[in-house]
């Protein structure tokens, strides 16, 4: 029997809102699941769809993308641009069979430490239920083995 499944969650967050919100969860000593790895970026506008694909390749079971609420972007409009990209990218991934539950999006402000903590717990639990994203991870495993030809 292999090890019990521990979800791997990669979060791409903007530094001004969600990263600060995650910091607030820390300063408030809120406890949440240790399964998330946070990648800090200046703005959700900087979060490229490629990041999501690479996180999946590296074995993420769920990817979270999070930034400032609409209207609150430190850079005034980065999150609006991001939202459009996500709408399209999400539809694309869904169409190619990458389940919507695997790519999550949220707005978490610098004041929403509690929301961040709860969300990470919820996503971790949901991912636990979904199980590992083996379909995608298999693609990587195949690469690492011998050529089949």
């Amino acid at each position: 029997m292999s090890e019990p499944f521990e979800p791997k969650i990669v979060a791409f967050v903007c530094t001004y809102c969600t990263y600060a919100g995650a910091d607030l969860a820390g300063t408030s000593r809120l406890k949440y699941a240790p399964n998330v790895r946070i990648v800090r970026l200046p703005c959700t506008g900087r979060i490229s769809p490629m990041f999501i694909l690479k996180a999946l390749q590296k074995g993420a079971d769920t990817v979270l993308v999070s930034g400032c609420h609409p209207g609150d972007c430190h850079f005034t409009a980065g999150n609006y641009h991001a939202r459009r990209r996500w709408t399209v990218f999400r539809a694309l991934l869904a169409f190619t069979g990458i389940p919507e539950e695997r790519i999550r999006f949220s707005w978490v402000s610098a004041a929403e430490g509690a929301k961040f903590a709860e969300m990470i717990n919820e996503i971790t639990e949901q991912t636990r239920k979904l199980g590992p994203f083996t379909q995608y991870q298999e693609l990587q495993k195949v690469i690492e083995t011998q050529s089949t030809y």
């Binding site: 490629m50 709408t87 694309l92 069979g97 379909q135 690469i143």
Partner: protein, 275 residues
């Protein structure tokens, strides 16, 4: 006089008057049912143009050939509505100057071929036609069939298709919108897209290609026809086109002054999926 003769003489006139330096049209292909792009620089060469229902390629892709239009001279090109739509997109993305392109427009309806009025891009108003255009039933049916699958089935469907991909980039090379001097897939520092054509690399390439065309695709089907391993690229393109029109009421190539859909936004864009 049939449209073919009409356009032959018009092309010849454009060339002999010196209004254009080149006319891009169709000539006989290697078999009876094939037509191939033909480049005429003299009125004599223009007599070789063929125009019939087999002329389905989107020749606008040649307009973005590096250096073709940098001398400021004009080029005439045979275009169907999807090609004209492509020209709209290319103009809105500053890849073409409207005055440099003379359009010899035509439409194919089953085996019938008709001339389109107008020579300058501004003569064509395609907006409504494009919006009301529905793809052929076989595409709709296939797309629906995929939508009805569960994610795991969809993944398997595309895995089977993408695993065939040999990364020949024919889909990219025939696409008028793939005019980048350097494609993302050729960026190796860092290597976002695995260049190897294993299934993972193929997934990445095909997803990135579709994403880069979202809201920019003229639905000409060139990529789908070009694919030597028959990946149904039309389905992804169709799905992306549908998404931008449903979510943002944006239809690429309606006119030549659109802002790119992914470089603009509305404050009340839909966001049902965001927590």
């Amino acid at each position: 006089m049939g449209i073919q003769e009409q356009y032959r003489s018009e092309a010849a006139a454009l060339l002999s008057s010196g209004e254009v330096k080149l006319v891009i049209g169709f000539g006989e292909g290697s078999t009876a049912d094939r037509r191939r792009p033909l480049f005429a620089r003299t009125p004599e060469e223009a007599q070789k143009f063929v125009l019939d229902a087999a002329c389905i390629a989107n020749l606008s892709t040649y307009l973005v050939t590096e250096g073709l239009l940098s001398d400021g001279k004009k080029v005439a090109v045979f275009l169907k509505p999807d090609g004209i739509r492509s020209v709209n997109i290319l103009i809105s993305e500053a890849q073409l100057k409207p005055d440099q392109v003379v359009i010899l427009g035509y439409a194919i309806d089953k085996a019938e071929i008709t001339a389109l009025e107008g020579r300058n891009i501004s003569d064509f108003s395609l907006g409504e036609e494009i919006r009301s255009h529905t793809p052929p039933p076989h595409i709709l049916q296939e797309a629906e069939r995929i939508e009805e699958m569960n994610p795991a089935e969809r993944f398997e469907f595309w895995k089977a298709h993408f695993s065939k991909c040999i990364k020949c980039y024919a889909c990219r090379q025939v696409c008028p919108m793939c005019y980048c001097r350097r494609c993302i897939v050729d960026v190796n520092q860092p290597q976002w897209v695995s260049t190897s054509s294993h299934t993972l690399g193929n997934f990445e390439w095909n997803i990135v290609r579709a994403f880069h065309l979202a809201g920019r695709c003229a639905a000409c089907g060139a990529c789908d026809r070009a694919c030597p391993v028959n990946i149904p690229l039309r389905l992804v393109n169709y799905r992306m086109g549908k998404e931008v029109i449903d979510a943002f009421d944006y239809c690429a190539g309606e006119n030549s002054s659109q802002k790119p859909v992914l470089a603009s936004f509305k404050q009340d864009d839909p966001e049902t999926f965001i927590l």
